[in-house]
Symmetry: C2
Subunit: 211 residues, 2 copies
């Protein structure tokens, strides 16, 4: 039996236990027994319990990323339509996932708390997709904002972070969240008080001086 097969077996067993009893309530000993091995042996395949959870999360995340990339590059939709689609799909997906079962939320908070680096890695991946979206738009000759695309992606994430893991930040209903996301997108798309670039530049200087 190859090493990867065993790894998969462990992940499968853990997935069953975690989704049934929750992360906190399943022990390494139980996972080991389910795989017909001793607890100690698990550590030859994973550094620790949380890493098994990460492996499970990553599986899910891979398919999510693929889906997101497809939306970001969907033909026949404008850049802004694609961005809107992307954020709405993410909002609904995570909302429902966290809503339907508290076990997932438990694992999410656990990982988010003890592995901030992992969260950063996810954000970076999604930023890469946003950049691809913008590059694609530029290639198609759509109007694009000036400036570094990676930075713009960061700001989009910053302005929409509330909608990324909705249940962690607020207790708003999905309907309310969707309305707010729509509003924030409109704000970003149309811009407050649209006017000339020159005027904007002057303004930023004034802001800098005041600070």
């Amino acid at each position: 039996m190859t090493k990867d097969t065993v790894r998969d077996k462990i992940v499968e067993a853990a997935k069953k236990r975690f989704s049934h009893f929750g992360y906190g309530k399943t022990t390494m000993a139980e996972i080991a027994t389910d795989c017909g091995m001793s607890p100690g042996n698990l550590y030859r395949f994973f550094p620790g319990k949380l890493d098994i959870a990460e492996a499970i999360a990553s599986e899910d995340y891979e398919t999510h990323l693929a889906q997101a990339r497809k939306i970001a590059l969907a033909p026949g939709r404008s850049a802004r339509e694609r961005l809107r689609d992307l954020l709405f799909v993410e909002l609904r997906r995570t909302y429902h996932k966290l809503e339907k079962d508290p076990r997932v939320l438990e694992m999410a908070t656990q990982i988010g708390h003890e592995r901030p680096q992992y969260v950063n890695w996810m954000l970076a991946n999604e930023r890469k997709i946003l950049v691809e979206l913008m590059e694609e738009a530029e290639k198609r000759g759509e109007m694009m904002p000036p400036g570094d695309k990676e930075e713009i992606a960061e700001m989009i994430q910053s302005a929409t972070m509330k909608f990324r893991y909705p249940q962690l930040w607020s207790k708003l209903s999905l309907a309310k969240l969707e309305r707010e996301l729509d509003g924030v997108l409109n704000l970003m798309f149309q811009g407050l008080c649209p006017c000339s670039e020159a005027e904007r530049e002057k303004e930023r200087k004034a802001a800098h001086a005041a600070a």
Copy 2:
């Protein structure tokens, strides 16, 4: 001795204790003794301990609101400059306040956790100021985005919530936070991919259909 005088005395005593020992570590009995009365009597002036904290917070908040309103209506600055000033001042103010002393943070989290209504009330107040800012801009003939001002204010808050109580949501440094706020504001001001209103309308219909 009038009722309000006693109330003030209680608030003063509590303020001293809270800022010195923290909310959790001061007892109602101590506050009462400081005021030369029995613990039970405090309840003739406040429904509970947390309400005393609220009273203290509100005192501070009033001066904050006044300052914010002044910034929002400052002469000689454009609407966007004023909005930028407002958000930056708020960011720095709360960041430093929470940074400098954990006692304030303790009270803030306590109130935020057990009195979500109070937080809503604060947000509503600040929204009112944003609306005033926009109305003032309109009066001065500055270019304004179309739509309900109250709603726009809500969306601005939504997009900038990360900067309102920075320490509660992330562990970013003030410098990083300022850069992000700057970026988000630019995003809102210039708008992603500026283009015609008609095109935007078409887009929203498409988004609706897709949902």
